[in-house]
Subunit: 234 residues, 2 copies
């Protein structure tokens, strides 16, 4: 089974969501069925960058993960792009046999049996500002495929419209732990990110949720953006 891989990097800390702060190696897969207006991973999405993607099999991928981690089993995050458009069952089976655990982040448009083998499935449906439409029946199929695997929902919020949409999504899935993350409009890898503007966006989102009496979602920033800006591979 041959897989298209945009980059494998780490270990570094997970910058967002339920595993925030956790040492992680990242497998960023190549290719996506979405085209979000604010995508911060176009190098892993746009087929313009296709010639930069590696073609690797499960053995090669896990060999690189083991090299990076010095053979210490840790959390491996499969992100993208949309990892679910490819078959990662072989990577996960091989890695788990070596003690690694896997998280996968996907928008929830394609369900895969291997979701059930994850230590965490992060479903991140895209709000209106992305310009994409969520197919909730596909999303439901993802939840069903995960079986007993831990799962959360993470939604990026750029504005009030996104926030109202997230609230509706949370009503639809009251038992799914929800994480909200302020959107990052500064995605140029060659430009620095102002930590103060990141802090300001967190303040806005905390005020708009907790401050407005919505007390269930957890609100987290992108730590990697705070620490490294939009630099890749950190």
């Amino acid at each position: 089974m041959i897989l298209r891989i945009a980059e494998i990097f780490g270990p570094t800390i997970q910058g967002e969501g339920a595993l925030i702060g956790q040492p992680t190696v990242f497998i960023r897969t190549g290719g996506c069925d979405y085209r979000c207006s604010w995508c911060d991973s176009l190098h892993a999405v746009d087929s313009r960058y296709r010639h930069d993607w590696a073609v690797m099999d499960a053995q090669q991928i896990m060999a690189e993960v083991a090299r990076l981690s010095g053979d210490q089993p840790l959390m491996v995050s499969i992100s993208g792009g949309n990892p679910a458009i490819q078959d990662f069952s072989g990577v996960i089976a091989l890695g788990r046999a070596q003690g690694y655990r896997f998280a996968c982040e996907t928008q929830g448009s394609v369900a895969r049996d291997w979701f059930a083998d994850l230590a965490l499935l992060v479903l991140s449906p895209k709000p209106p500002s992305s310009g994409q439409e969520t197919d909730w029946s596909a999303f439901d199929a993802c939840l069903a495929a995960a079986k007993d695997a831990p799962r959360i929902m993470k939604i990026v919020i750029f504005d009030d419209h996104d926030l109202a949409w997230a609230r509706e999504a949370s009503t639809r899935y009251p038992d799914l732990a929800l994480y909200l993350q302020p959107g990052n409009p500064e995605t140029d890898p060659d430009l620095p990110v102002d930590p103060q503007s990141l802090a300001d966006r967190m303040l806005w989102l905390v005020d708009a949720t907790v401050g407005a009496g919505w007390l269930t979602p957890r609100i987290l920033p992108q730590l990697h953006v705070l620490i490294w800006g939009n630099r890749r591979g950190v």
Copy 2:
């Protein structure tokens, strides 16, 4: 049972540790058996501020929590000072009956039966830079008192010496999930905090841990300091 309370505030997000990002009401208790050199909560420690502390019983405390949360049950964090020098069993019993859940953060110098009723016990032993000594037998008694309650260890790191000490502590408790947090030398509530310096301290700590091949602890900043600086009550 009368309790000394420095402040009750929120809901706001939990800024640090395992519950980072979670909407929380904070009960900051008055009084501490430690005097850490870099304590950021002297107003809840030093008896100089004693006349600012309220004297409240469990009913009064939970009435204030319910008022702040608009009667929505949420996570309540009991911090200090050292909450364990007082008896919070009554507050916790009353709050749990109303659907609230409780986390408590303490250095681990005093064990309490009510640790077993917590949704999370955060034990934060103080590294050498604090100028305090950890009594590990008291710490062990805290762990034992917590019984089956979830617990983590959180250590604030100012320098390499603290880091070596944390590593030794993690060897002593290999099964206790460890969170590391860069120390904040800027604790004056009247001075602004530079978000860039907070980002720099995170970068240093990630490099010194993950970058050096230590892949087990989770590394998290103090989000509330990023967002609000050292302002109180947020």
